[in-house]
């Protein structure tokens, strides 16, 4: 192990900005991608469920009228 302390670890031998800039942006992009993908699927499920409910409602209304 080449780090004596936390601050030494964060400084990365003077290259902290470059190293943590790389890792930070990568991590942020991965989190954003995961959130977007998982939320997108949930939205699709919700939308399709609403659509189905609306169709069922219109069908029962028609049956009641008859």
């Amino acid at each position: 192990m080449s780090w004596g302390s936390m601050s030494e670890f964060l400084a990365m031998g003077g290259a902290g900005f470059y190293v943590w800039g790389s890792y930070g942006v990568t991590f942020a992009l991965i989190v954003i991608e995961l959130v977007v993908v998982l939320r997108r699927r949930k939205q699709v499920v919700n939308r399709l469920q609403r659509l189905r409910r609306a169709m069922q409602a219109s069908r029962t209304r028609k049956e009641n009228r008859q």
Partner: protein, 253 residues
């Protein structure tokens, strides 16, 4: 034995069979990605020694190189799925190609971003027109083109097939682009320092890089499976099995 295997492969080529399979597999790969990334990062930051020439900044390669590999590999897989879609006319393969593209573009951008941040202290500039960086940039444009084309076409069948042709044309051109950019680069600048040819890589560095590469594989598989599940639901919304799936989701909620 062989017939059983073929049977199961074709079974999962149907979207209604693939959807639950993807749902079961994705979390497994996600867990694998997290574990591998933790191991890889631990090795990269705490086991691998400081580089004698570049100092600590070389630790960027633990994401830069896997991201660059992934971005190229994903384009290849995308073209492969497109080819399968064109030949066998399966719906799922086009969805897979479209699910892969955003993740490929993401890795492509990560490779460029980390390359720039690595280049500043090493070359003295955020960007040099190095052959690898330049072809990576062109690859990003190819991803954007594929995503823009499939998004611009409303009819999903046409989007699938137009995207497949574009991916195949792009895949034929990728080696040509790489060759031409290398040629241009050597004529104009002479050889430059290359990140992947870092002198005397310690074995622990190499291991950390390989484990991080495996982590990005697992991540890609997980996120693509999740994305393709969304695509499948949208495309198959008029089918019975999606209706059953929606009822089940409602019951769970």
């Amino acid at each position: 034995m062989e017939s059983a295997q073929r049977f199961s492969l074709f079974r999962y080529a149907a979207p209604n069979m693939f959807y639950p399979l993807a749902g079961r597999l994705a979390p497994m790969f996600a867990v694998a990605a997290v574990v591998l990334a933790l191991v890889g990062l631990y090795m990269g930051f705490f086991v691998a020694p400081t580089d004698a020439v570049q100092g600590e900044v070389y630790r960027v390669i633990f994401i830069h190189v896997p991201a660059a590999w992934m971005s190229m590999f994903i384009y290849l897989v995308m073209a492969l799925w497109s080819g399968v879609g064109v030949v066998f006319n399966t719906r799922l393969s086009a969805m897979m190609a479209q699910a892969l593209a955003p993740t490929g573009a993401m890795f492509c951008f990560v490779a460029l971003w980390t390359g720039a941040l690595w280049g500043r202290p090493t070359w003295g500039a955020y960007w040099v027109w190095d052959a690898r960086l330049t072809s990576q940039l062109l690859l990003l444009f190819l991803y954007f083109g594929f995503m823009a084309l499939t998004a611009a076409i409303e009819d999903p069948r046409r989007a699938d097939r137009a995207g497949a042709i574009l991916a195949l044309v792009g895949a034929v051109n990728v080696p040509i682009i790489y060759f031409s950019v290398t040629w241009w680069n050597t004529l104009h600048q002479g050889a430059s320092v290359s990140l992947t040819k870092a002198p005397s890589m310690a074995t622990t560095m190499l291991w950390a890089m390989l484990i991080m590469a495996l982590a990005s594989w697992a991540y890609t598989i997980a996120v693509v499976l999740w994305r393709v599940r969304g695509l499948i639901l949208e495309r198959e919304r008029h089918t019975e099995w999606v209706a059953a799936e929606l009822d089940a989701a409602e019951a769970r909620a």
